[in-house]
Amino acid sequence: MPIEEVLGFAVAGTFVLYALLGGADFGGGVWDLLALGPRKAEQRALIARAIGPVWEVNHVWLIVGLVLLFSGFPRAFAALSVALHVPLTLLVLGIVFRGTAFTFRAYDTRGDAVERRWGVVFSVASVVAPLLLGMCVGAVASDAIRMQGHAVVSGFFASWLSPFAVSVGVLTLGLFAFLAAVYLTHEAHTPQLAEDFRRRALVTGGLLFPLALAVLLLSKEGAPRVWTGLSQTPFALALHVGTAVAAVVAFALLWTRRFRAARVAAATQAGLIVLGWAVSQAPYLVYPGLTLRSAAASPVVMRLLLVALAVGAVTVVPSMVLLFRVFRPQPPGTASGAQETTAT
């Protein structure tokens, strides 16, 4: 495998991990906004406890992906930063408000109007950011970004406001909300709370089917290469089948309340969807001018980046295992109120 493909795979890997971990934290914010019913306050408290210790760690996957992109494929990073200046700026604002509002709410607890207002900022930003992230992905996937030399000639709005890009935004939001709901069934420390999130997971999981279908149909017009990639190559078909199987399994496990296993199935499903995008996108970063090969940094740079990644993995992976072990969910009834839960 040529080294630029290895690095491209690593970038895709960070996006998958960001979706599975960071995405679920955004999804938690969505359920904070949509907290309903008699256990509204408990739902919000569970979400806050689950996200608290890990959201900053999960967020770092985005930074790592970004750094790998600009170090490994600098021209693609430059082009995307110009073409998607507007949505990326808005996305960054969403990330700023999500993180700061969550922290202010957590550390300035007074149970008053100010705290509730931070809660609203946190949850609204958690809805806006995934939408914009998905719209950026949609813009890239649809090949609507056009370049002449180093200049972007496709404008600053059209690419990410197309029906296809917007549909990808909605799908991303739905996927993150689904992941969060599934994870939270396992994090919940009372059966009632687990039920609340099981219902949410089943509903959003059900909605994902028509949403994904809509994206696929819109891609025929809006992103023809994705359409061909997703519907005609054998590897893509295998990915589809894998995604569909994982989705059905996740549904069945939720239905039968096997929450621990449902988490794995849902994560597999979401991971395969992100991977499916990456595969249909390859080898183009910005169609047709910038490919993995033409945008790649010098080979020596890419080799050193992979070394840095390996060094990073040696320090980060054991630390992360420790983190998730320390905060792994306790079975209901075994822990006191202050000691439960966290997100994956």
Binding site: E56, S71, P74, V301, F327
Partner: protein
């Protein structure tokens, strides 16, 4: 204002904002671990309370630092796509390692903050140490990128961009050891001074508050040591700038004409039209001594360099004077404090000295921001010195006033909010406050 100026202003604003939180993220964990360790050694619960308060402060400041750092990593592309498109690969290695350090910092901060009841005391303290170490590592790696921009090396420049890239050479561009030491010290110094200032303020209002005397005894050693080390490191750094970036040195000193035995100009406002520095006081041969260690050394003036490669002389000179001035005041205060500590048996907290520390509290941050302005303004008009002009790097996206004013408003709002939230944390420790049980010690 042109779009280039708006882009520079937005980047500058984002960095000026982020630097404060980054510095706190580097230094507060050290103070937090120190008080934790003091608690374990003395069994005094005030130190535990202090370390918990510092941990909360760290959590808030780290979160704001993490998101404002995210803004910066996007802004590299959003504002300077040509810089990243060409030099992204050259500086990718330190950025990647910074990512690794950021990861470990976030992981162990999570364990430290939320795991006090869940992990053993040793693992807890170890997590705190890891937060401090990885915070320092991440500042170290990011400063390496800035060193590269000041003294680019490790590639051959061509009109089509860099070739023959040697990432390890670029990562350790000349002067890296001085700049990283200078920056790391400034993080510890700024945070320790700010913390000492806060507790001095409370001790002035509540002279008996034992908790705050103890807090002072944690902050003062770090503040005094860094304040005395910093001028030495700064001197080494200036000597390197004198050799490697003579035009920056000339701007820092308002030094227009090449001279043997050049005087050191204190204060004043350089006038590039008349090429004089009205209002300054000259110390004979001072600049030659400081820059080259030789009273008769020749120091190149701005006249040696083409006019269109001059940095904004007045701004660089004033920022440099502010940094050196505040640095000197802090070093002086450190000397007095250490003298009093040596004469007495504990860290001093007399009213006069407390007033001085209250006044000095913000000076570390002022010096940090001023020093950063010196290096950034002093590198202009280049983004990568001698190779790429800032104007060549800027994005073609129009209407950059809109994001600039948006981020200005957002950062003003966040800055005020953070101050408010942090003040409430401090207020909780005041004598008579709701959770102020510890305020009087035992």
């Amino acid at each position: 204002m042109t779009d280039l100026l708006y882009a520079r202003a937005q980047m500058g604003l984002s960095l000026a904002f982020h630097i404060v939180f980054a510095a706190a993220g580097v230094a507060l964990p050290v103070l937090m671990v120190l008080s934790d360790w003091k608690h374990r050694r003395t069994g005094d619960n005030d130190y535990r309370k202090l370390s918990e308060k510092l941990a909360k402060g760290t959590a808030i400041l780290f979160a704001v630092g993490a998101v404002s750092g995210t803004v910066l990593s996007f802004e590299l592309g959003l504002l300077w796509p040509e810089f990243m498109g060409r030099y992204g690969e050259v500086i990718g290695l330190p950025f990647s390692l910074e990512g690794v350090a950021f990861f470990t910092e976030a992981i162990f901060l999570g364990i430290y903050l939320y795991g006090r009841e869940r992990v053993s005391p040793n693992l807890h303290l170890f997590s705190g140490v890891m937060v401090a170490v990885s915070g320092a590592a991440s500042a170290f790696f990011v400063t390496l990128v800035n060193t590269f921009m000041n003294n680019p090396s490790g590639f051959t420049a061509t009109p089509a961009g860099p070739v023959d890239v040697q990432p390890l050479v670029a990562m350790f561009s000349p002067g890296w050891q001085y700049q990283t030491a200078h920056v790391l010290l400034s993080c510890y110094q700024a945070s320790a001074f700010a913390m000492a200032g806060i507790h001095a303020f409370i001790l002035l209002k509540h002279p008996g508050a034992a908790f705050h005397k103890k807090a002072l005894s944690v902050a003062l050693p770090l503040a005094c040591i860094t304040a005395l080390l910093q001028p030495l490191v700064g001197d080494l750094s200036a000597k390197h700038v004198a050799k490697a970036q003579p035009v920056k040195l000339a701007a820092m000193e308002g030094h227009f004409h090449t001279e043997v035995g050049a005087p050191l100009l204190l204060g004043g406002l350089p006038d590039v039209e008349t090429r004089t520095v009205p209002g300054s006081i000259g110390v004979p041969k001072g600049l030659s001594i400081l820059a080259f260690g030789d009273p008769d050394a020749e120091v190149k003036g701005l006249n040696e360099f083409p006019r269109d490669t001059w940095p904004p002389v007045a701004k660089v000179h004033v920022a440099f004077q502010v940094m050196v001035g505040t640095g000197s005041l802090m070093a002086l205060l450190a000397l007095v404090t250490l003298w009093r500590r040596w004469r007495g048996r504990e860290w001093p907290h007399g009213r006069g000295l407390m007033r001085a520390w209250l006044f000095a509290g913000p000076l570390g941050l002022v010096a940090l921001e001023a020093g950063w302005l010196v290096t950034e303004w002093g590198r202009q008009p280049w983004i990568v010195r001698g190779v790429m002009r800032t104007s060549e790097a800027v994005t073609p996206v129009p209407h950059l006033a809109a994001p600039f004013f948006t981020f200005t408003a957002v950062y003003l709002f966040l800055g005020v909010t953070v101050l408010f939230v942090l003040w409430r944390q401090v207020a909780g420790t005041l004598p008579g406050a709701a959770d102020g049980k510890v305020a009087h010690g035992h």
